[in-house]
């Protein structure tokens, strides 16, 4: 059997124009990689949104990053001031990865 190691999976729902800022924060926390996942639309306490290429203001991505728990903590800490102002939804869980030294 292949050996797998637990790592932290952080997913952040973020406005498209703010995604680059998250990448910088992740980098500052020592995280080397991320993937942006496409969304189509959504609904929350602030109403509905959907993809919007004209104004570019209301589209959102899911920012996915895998990291060890130390870096994940640092990244999550860095997100705190943005939670309210940027309207982020932050999810954290554990996944098993194969080449753990990458993350």
């Amino acid at each position: 059997m292949i050996e797998t190691t637990p790592r932290e999976r952080i997913e952040v729902l973020v406005d498209a124009p703010l995604a680059p800022q998250l990448a910088l924060l992740a980098q500052a926390a020592g995280i080397t990689g991320h993937t942006l996942i496409r969304t189509e639309s959504g609904q929350g306490r602030h109403g509905k949104w959907s993809e919007d290429l004209i104004s570019g203001a209301t589209a959102k991505y899911i920012f996915l990053t895998i990291a060890n728990s130390e870096r994940a903590d640092a990244f999550q800490e860095a997100l705190v001031p943005l939670l309210e102002s940027h309207g982020l939804v932050v999810l954290r869980s554990t996944v098993n990865v194969v080449r753990p030294d990458r993350f």
Partner: protein
């Protein structure tokens, strides 16, 4: 009145109204976002090219410099003009005031494009160089809006934001196409004129169909728009537009170009500014500024502002 009828019965405006009606009836008609973005790029390239080609023919003249200066001043000043109304009458906090104000200082490319199509089709031709004024007015208002939003803050402008202001995609495309138009001139434009001139009004129809859908859906889905703010969304284009027309007339522009400066002052951005605001003032309510600019002011301008400002420009021109 004739002008209003002519506007209302032109194909682009009729498609805009069709979109609005379809959204109001909650039809599932929709134009994919990607295509809307593509049409928007096309319209900017086309209007830029055509302006540049015209300048290549007519020469630049001293009008351009005056118009550029006037445009810059209007774009920078209008946010400060509208801010008090937004905060006192509209009840917005400082951050939302700044964000909304920035939109009104900036411009709507498609309002300009529609006006230039409608004016042009009845021989009321806007000067080519007004495209450069359009580009010039896109982003200065962003800085004014930020100043309003966080007057105290020391570090107003990040390098990222400055790049957004100077090299914003629509500014680059408008000015770039304008420059290309000037370089290639009428002869060089000829092989691309079937796409950029002949196809223009048709694409505008399809784009306005989508804008009608978007504008009406914004209005129906908004939670943030109060009656007072909606009233401001109609008042602003009238006041700012009149200001723009008068400024244009005073600096010596001909009536169509003065009307165009009025259109620019009257219109509110829905491309360059919203994304910049989302980045620089993420606390501001995007639903609010898009509802005002796209949902209220844009339709008002397309249907009423275009004939109204022409009327004012003709009247003001006759007075002088």
């Amino acid at each position: 009145m004739d002008q209003l009828t002519a506007t209302l019965l032109s194909a682009p405006v009729l498609f805009f109204i069709l979109g609005g009606l379809a959204a109001a009836a909650r039809s599932d008609l929709s134009v994919p976002e990607t295509l809307a973005k593509g049409m928007s790029l096309y319209l900017m390239a086309a209007i830029g090219l055509k302006g540049g080609v015209e300048v290549a023919k007519a020469g630049i003249g001293t009008d351009l410099l005056g118009a550029l200066a006037a445009g810059l001043a209007l774009s920078a000043a209008i946010p400060f003009l509208v801010a008090p109304a937004l905060s006192r009458f509209g009840g917005l906090d400082r951050i939302n005031t700044g964000a909304v104000a920035a939109h009104y200082g900036s411009v709507s490319v498609v309002t300009f494009v529609t006006a230039s199509q409608i004016y042009g089709s009845s021989g009321f031709a806007i000067a080519g160089f007004m495209v450069a004024v359009l580009a010039m007015m896109e982003t200065p208002a962003i800085l004014s809006g930020l100043l309003i939003a966080r007057r105290e803050s020391g570090k107003l402008i990040s390098r990222e934001l400055l790049r957004e202001v100077l090299f914003n995609g629509s500014v680059v495309l408008l000015l770039g196409s304008f420059a290309i138009g000037m370089v290639i001139g009428e002869d060089g434009f000829e092989p691309i004129s079937p796409l950029f001139r002949a196809g223009f009004t048709g694409v505008l129809c399809l784009f306005l169909l989508d804008m009608g859908l978007i504008a009406m859906r914004r209005i129906l889905e908004t939670r943030a728009l109060t009656l007072r703010l909606a009233a401001l969304g109609i008042l602003f284009p009238v006041v700012n537009g009149t200001l723009g027309v008068l400024t244009g007339t005073l600096i010596g522009l001909d009536a169509p170009s003065a009307a165009a400066l009025g259109i620019l002052a009257a219109s509110a951005s829905y491309i360059a500014v919203p994304a910049a605001m989302r980045m620089s003032l993420p606390q501001a309510d995007a639903g609010l500024y898009l509802a005002m600019s796209l949902g209220v002011t844009f339709p008002f301008n397309i249907v009423f502002g275009i004939p109204l400002l022409r009327g004012i420009a003709e009247f003001a021109g006759a007075l002088l």
